[in-house]
């Protein structure tokens, strides 16, 4: 019996290895193609950096890159302000209909992006607002807020309300309590949530696509435009840079949230919210 068990275990491990291969092979392909002088993989001769050099000559791409960073920083800052206050509100305040409120906060995160995209477009255009950086920012704020809020709520749930109560009992006013007790305890959660929200914002295209005018583009929208002319080596070079950036962000995220398990807290909270 033990040999049968071992055999089944081995089968599962091989299956697992194949899945990891399936998950990472495409990314490796992108990486290899970005250094290839020719467009084919078979018979690849040597390594070149010329596609990366070309990236730096593409003014449109550099501008789009800058736009993406700015939108990410702006939407994350707004999301932190709204998300932290909202997290305290939902964690510490009781009111009828709280479950519905929670679900509504999560909607931009659970609904297909296309629904949020068309709704925001219709709503914004109804007020006669032209598509610009501002409309893209609104779109990004719509989905970064739930990300930040649920990360902070997860931390608050682990903390419990007793620390604040103790501080108040010892004579601290609400501002002091927040400054000296609460903030230090949620600081890493705020950093982790910011990184997570920034990563999502940096990559977002489904909603941005609807809210982008013809002139002011974020990087994913710009790359999407490049794809119309086929897969150029330049596309692989910028893809590789994006890959490396996301890896850096994930590593930082895992560090700041303490346990890397926190990275997926939003999904877990979502399941809990539906109870």
């Amino acid at each position: 019996m033990s040999s049968g068990t071992r055999k089944r275990g081995t089968g599962l491990k091989i299956f697992g290895a194949l899945i990891y291969l399936f998950l990472y092979f495409p990314l490796v392909i992108v990486l290899i193609f970005s250094f290839s002088p020719t467009k084919t993989l078979v018979g690849m001769q040597g390594i070149t950096l010329k596609w990366y050099q070309e990236l730096f000559r593409d003014q449109g791409l550099l501008t789009a890159f800058l736009h993406t960073i700015l939108i990410g920083l702006a939407s994350v800052s707004i999301a932190i302000a709204l998300g932290v206050s909202g997290a305290f509100f939902l964690s510490r305040v009781n009111f009828p209909g709280k479950g519905v409120f929670r679900t509504l906060v999560l909607l931009p995160y659970i609904l297909p992006g296309i629904i949020m995209g068309i709704s925001l477009l219709i709503f914004i255009r109804n007020f006669g607002i032209k598509l610009s950086w501002f409309t893209v920012l609104l779109g990004h704020v719509s989905f970064t807020v739930p990300i930040v809020m649920f990360q902070i709520m997860a931390r608050l749930a682990r903390m419990g309300p007793n620390y604040q109560a103790a501080a108040m009992d010892l004579g601290a006013n609400p501002v002091q309590t927040f400054r000296y007790v609460t903030l230090p305890m949620i600081r890493t959660a705020i950093v982790g949530a910011s990184l997570l929200a920034f990563t999502v914002s940096f990559d977002e295209i489904v909603i941005s696509f609807f809210l982008t005018g013809s002139a002011w583009m974020t990087l994913p929208v710009y790359i999407y435009g490049m794809l119309r002319f086929g897969l150029s080596p330049k596309v692989y070079a910028i893809s590789t840079i994006i890959l490396c950036l996301s890896l850096v962000l994930i590593t930082l995220m895992a560090r700041y949230t303490g346990r890397s398990a926190d990275v997926y807290r939003v999904g877990k909270q979502e399941a809990r919210a539906r109870r």
Binding site: P26, G113, L120
Partner: protein, 287 residues
């Protein structure tokens, strides 16, 4: 826990997030719902109330058949994602001691890797001059490039399954990690073999995670419109493309709003119907 309404002052904290919700969630969705009953006059949208957008959906066979095909494809993708992610989560949760944290990270990193980069990668692999075809040509297995790899439903299914795997892995892994290990020992002590323990103990206890993962994958696959454009070709038109077309080419926003709201209805129905699983099983797991 007491369920009392808090003092009025505490509600001040709720103002920013409520404003956000009204302006960027409820407002847009409500307005889209209203517009789905409006009409178009040439290129002009007019607030003349009508049911014809919804009537068109039910009478023109194009819409219903594309929706039906999209639902089937999304179901297939969700099943494929579970068939790959569940064994992986089981492996990492139950069979791995050393390097467990690393394998966990390796399983969820693809979640944060750019969506567009993953699309580019699969176009590169499946294309006529792509990785698979050039490799097969080089070893002489084929003479002509295989054309069934790209620009069809197969390509959409592979790419979306790829994207959904971490979304299924996370809730399943979380559910598996919560299963008390002594329950498995008890099952084994009572004479159940490994397979029986898996079927009768592990699967039922991980059902909430399984359902959550399935829903995630299904909704992601059903709502996507960029992957069908990039990899689906003319064969692979999905429901999301029909919505997109009303805003791109056709410029019929009221019809697009109606099609969008039908998708919204499906998403909400699926989430509500399955929330029951989260309730009972989730309660049990909290013990």
């Amino acid at each position: 826990m007491k369920r009392t309404t808090s003092p009025a002052r505490a509600f001040l904290r709720g103002i920013p997030v409520t404003a956000w919700m009204l302006l960027l969630v409820i407002g847009p969705l409500a307005f889209t719902f209203l517009m789905s009953f409006w009409s178009t006059d040439g290129m002009q949208i007019t607030a003349a109330w009508t049911l014809k957008n919804y009537a068109l959906f039910f009478t023109d066979p194009l819409y219903v058949s594309v929706l039906a095909k999209s639902i089937l494809l999304a179901l297939a993708i969700a099943v494929l994602a579970i068939l790959t992610a569940y064994p992986l989560a089981y492996l990492v949760s139950f069979r791995i001691r050393r390097g467990k944290q690393l394998l966990f990270m390796l399983s969820i990193i693809p979640l944060w890797v750019s969506y567009l980069v993953r699309i580019i990668a699969w176009r590169t692999i499946l294309g006529n001059k792509g990785v698979i075809n050039s490799a097969l040509l080089a070893i002489g297995a084929i003479r002509e490039p295989l054309t069934f790899l790209l620009y069809n439903r197969f390509a959409i299914a592979i790419t979306l399954t790829y994207i959904c795997i971490p979304f299924v892995f996370i809730p399943v892994y979380t559910a598996l990690e919560k299963i008390p290990r002594n329950i498995l020992e008890a099952s084994s002590d009572l004479g159940a073999g490994e397979l029986r323990t898996f079927v009768n103990v592990v699967v039922p206890l991980s059902l909430p995670g399984l359902v959550t993962g399935f829903i995630f994958a299904f909704i992601i696959a059903l709502g996507d419109y960029i992957i069908p454009i990039q990899l689906g070709g003319t064969q692979g038109i999905m429901y999301g493309n029909l919505i997109w077309n009303q805003f791109g080419f056709a410029f019929n926003w009221p019809l697009g709003a109606a099609l969008g709201f039908i998708l919204f209805g499906i998403a909400v129905a699926v989430l509500t119907a399955t929330s029951r699983f989260g309730t009972t099983e989730g309660g049990f797991l909290n013990e």
